[in-house]
Amino acid sequence: MSYMRKPKIVHPGLKKNALGLTRRDYEGAMSTLCAGCGHDSITAGIIQACFELSVEPHRVAKVSGIGCSSKTPAYFLSASHGFNAVHGRMPAVATGANAANPDLYYIGVSGDGDSLSIGLGQFCHAMRRNLDMLYIIENNGVYGLTKGQFSASADVGTKAKKGETNEQPPIDPVLTALALGSTFVARSFSGDKEQLVPLIKAGLKHKGFALIDVLSPCVTFNDHEDSTKSYAFTRQHYHPALEADFVQPADEIMADYDAGAAIEIDLHDGSRIMLRKTAPDYDAQNRGLAFAYIKDKLRLGEYLTGLLFVDEDGRDMHAVNQTVSQPLNSLDWDAVCPGSSAMPGILSRYS
């Protein structure tokens, strides 16, 4: 790491990784998310994973769309380039970037609105291409940044801050990923660092598309336990734009449970979700059966978490394309321009 000419002054006792960097070297700008937002926990998980893997920060490319979740790449790895694309179109940017240089680690961060509504097509096609990247959906069932509309992953029966109930069946990113050919499919919970950090590491190391659907509660727009909701609700004469005028300071929701076990998590809105970790004997190699099993659990109201499917033999976009191993963005002039000597041969077919 010849670059680090002026190392940050760090507490000498801070743990260092193989590159001699501390966890702080993997941090980013201060988060502007709501206190207690699940997304911030995922940010912490990414920092932890990159630190532990001793990834060179500038060899990471961060990509995202638009949303609270998509802002978070600014909050980790400040020494990495980032590309905050337009809403729902991060997969395309990642595809082009990866086409130009597959030698970086690609970390994509998206929201359920970003990936399952406006960006669903691109999300699916990135999986189909088995694009070599880690793709994290910070899944809160709402559009956080635009103030709490249901997203396509909202469960039936979920209540919005405004009191409406969602009646539409959700799109499940995990089932979608299984159908669309993703070669690494995982689910976790923002508050379960024990499970999340190893999954992020595995996803980063996976050669191909690695999806982690991370359930990540939105404290603000799920923030409607009784007393609260009635407060918002009784202010009948205020405008909808004011609905997030007050945000209750909240704590991060944590979860800690064992393989094979299930745990019920209380969300800020008083509702609960049930998580179940895959048991040690879970078979993550059979796409069809994984689908059937996960679907079955969902019917029982349980989200199966862990690494749900993996196929290390999938060929990534470059393998299919037979791209040269040197990144295209570093080819020099002679390698790309055929020069005047080739011209006669080319023109012969036009005369």
Binding site: H58, A61, H81, V86, G96, A97, L104, V324, N329
Partner: protein, 606 residues
């Protein structure tokens, strides 16, 4: 058949071939055109094909012009009417004194006869059924046979055809033979039954030496190859599809390791145009030269991302091979109807450099230029071609390549430079030309920044601050002023009179030039400027200032170039007289001559 005999016309007439698509006629017609080209005669071919795959009428128009005119003349001197369904209108289209050839295997309706046209029937289907086996061969060879007849009728050298066939089917001599047999069938029939050659005929010249026949999409693809573009992302759309096809073909040959088969390029067929432009931005952000070919509907879909490229300052090259709009329009017809869209594409205050090639030769040059501009200016650049240029074969001077040329990667800070810097500010105008410095991912941690389409300040940080926002926007205005100095300047011809002049763009060029020579013969000498890029160079303003009245010739309904001129120069709009052609066929000189004659006759400016 005693018909009014056409006057002798050497190397200056139009052959139109009316076929059914999917029958192999385009290949046969192209063979015919190529053979005339090899006779040294300037020639241009226009293909009018339907937006379907098989069974509908399709026409191919070949104009021979000893004087080198390249636009449509408006006449049809020889019609090959192979499509029973359009026989009536095809016959009607023949100019008095012209010739019509048809397949006389089946009887022709008696009504469809014209006294002023020489009608030559030959039993093509019958001949081919007798001489070839299999449906495929019989259908295909009918076309080749009428080419053989034309070879005889027009006095084309048979050896040229032979050469062409053996080059084309070099690896399948049997096919070359079959084709030659069909040529001979038609040739012999014509010699035997018709008076050969016709008064309209071909005679060797030497006007095509140093020239090629090439379509604009292939030429543009060659430009991309030579410019060092390595990533192409696209979604198929007529008439741009052949650009990426050609790029891939060239790269297969010149960018593929012969031993390993490894490719020094990556073409991604995107899921749609929104994805294609996103990929192009991603690859350019990474420092690869990347481009996308598309057409109007694709540009509409790319609008959001193109504004992103403008504001976040990411290079991109977009080829818009224009077709007839609005909406899905007529995908196989030509127009110049995306001029305003390209210039101002996307919401908010946005503006983009646009290059306007006039022919395949410029497609090649401007493709190369577009990458240099995109990287130098760090912004999306449009190359606005059209179906006529892109998909038809044009005679152009041979493409040349200067080995001294090196790509201009613009202001990119490398590792060494970053090492020496205290800080890197992405959107800082260090040089006063409005162009900031950029860095590439993966190079150095000090170069890291967060590319975003939301509000950012000169340092590259997020902002919602009014002054910081405006600072960046004002710099972008300065950058666009710099662009005006970098883009290709206009082409100006003549020291004509100052009361009137002509200004045009892109594929109108041939029609305007021919019109000017016709008018000149009538004593009306007009200067002519062809703009080649937006933003407009200073010469454009000067030209407009120099003339009292300027005819603005373009191929769209709403006078989009004229609008752009009055929006972006200080010209008095009253001076600019629109000359518009927008029926989907390439503009002909007749349209231009007619409009100018009329306006000059009525006097004062419109």
């Amino acid at each position: 058949m005693s018909k009014p005999q056409a006057a002798e016309r050497i190397n200056d007439f139009v052959i139109k071939l009316a076929n059914v698509n999917g029958t192999g006629s385009a290949s046969a017609n192209s063979l015919l055109m190529k053979s005339i080209f090899r006779m040294g005669v300037p020639v241009v071919g226009k293909n009018f094909f339907p937006s379907n795959i098989q069974g509908l009428p399709t026409w191919y128009e070949i104009r021979l012009s000893r004087d080198g005119h390249i636009s449509r003349s408006g006449d049809v001197d020889i019609m090959v009417a192979m499509n029973a369904e359009t026989y009536g209108r095809d016959l009607a289209e023949v100019s008095p004194g012209g010739v019509l050839i048809y397949d006389s295997t089946w009887p022709r309706s008696q009504e469809l006869i014209r006294e002023d046209v020489t009608i030559l029937g030959m039993p093509l289907a019958k001949m081919c059924n007798e001489n070839f086996d299999g449906v495929r061969g019989r259908i295909l060879m009918k076309n080749v046979a009428y080419v053989g007849a034309l070879v005889a009728l027009l006095n084309i050298e048979l050896d040229i055809i032979k050469d062409l066939l053996s080059e084309t089917f070099s690896s399948k001599p049997r096919l070359a033979e079959a084709n030659m047999k069909a040529i001979q069938l038609g040739y012999d029939y014509a010699l035997e039954h018709f008076q050969c050659p016709l008064p309209l005929r071909v005679s060797r010249m030497d006007k095509t030496a140093g020239h090629i026949m090439i379509d604009g999409n292939s030429a543009a693809a060659l430009g991309c190859l030579y410019a060092g573009a390595t990533v192409g992302a696209w979604y198929p759309i007529t008439p741009s599809t052949s650009l990426m096809d050609a790029f891939r073909t060239f790269c297969d040959q010149y960018r593929t390791d012969e031993e390993t088969g490894e490719r020094r390029f990556c073409v991604v067929q995107a899921e749609d145009e929104l994805a294609a432009i996103g990929m192009v931005l991603g690859a350019n952000w990474m420092g690869a030269r990347a481009f996308t070919p598309t057409s109007g509907p694709g540009v509409s879909l790319m609008s959001e991302f193109i504004g992103y490229g403008y504001y976040a300052e990411v290079p991109a090259v977009i080829f818009d091979v224009q077709r007839v709009g609005p909406s899905t329009g007529m995908p196989t017809r030509t127009q110049q109807c995306d001029i305003l869209l390209a210039a101002y594409c996307s919401h908010g205050d946005t503006r983009h450099p646009v290059l306007f090639p006039a022919d395949p030769h410029e497609c090649f040059e401007m493709a190369v230029k577009a990458f240099d501009l995109a990287e130098r200016l760090q912004t999306p650049v449009f190359v606005l071609s059209d179906l006529d240029i892109g998909m038809n074969d044009w005679m152009c001077p041979k493409l040349e390549w200067d080995d001294a040329y090196r790509w201009d990667r613009g202001k990119v800070l490398g590792r060494e430079e970053l090492e020496k810097m205290d800080h890197f500010w992405r959107y800082h105008d260090a040089d006063g030309d409005g162009i900031p410095y950029r860095t590439l991912p993966g190079v150095h941690p000090r170069g890291a920044y967060f590319t975003r389409g939301s509000g950012h300040n000169a340092r590259g940080a997020y902002t919602e601050d009014s002054d910081e926002y405006r600072e960046v926007m004002d710099r972008l205005t300065r950058k666009f002023a710099t662009a005006a100095e970098l883009v290709p300047g206009p082409v100006t011809i003549g020291n004509g009179r100052s009361d009137a002049a002509v200004l045009s763009v892109g594929s109108c060029d041939g029609a305007v030039r021919e019109a000017l020579s016709i008018l000149s013969a009538e004593g009306v000498n007009l200067s002519y400027m062809r703009v080649r890029a937006f933003p407009f160079s200073a010469e454009v303003q000067a030209f407009l200032d120099r003339h009292e009245r300027v005819f603005v010739v373009e191929q769209n309904r709403d006078a989009q170039l004229r609008t752009l001129l009055i929006a972006e120069t200080r010209v008095d709009p009253g001076k600019l007289v629109p000359v518009l052609h927008y029926d989907g066929l390439p503009i002909g000189s007749d349209c231009v001559v007619g409009a100018i004659r009329e306006a000059m006759a009525t006097g004062a400016a419109a």
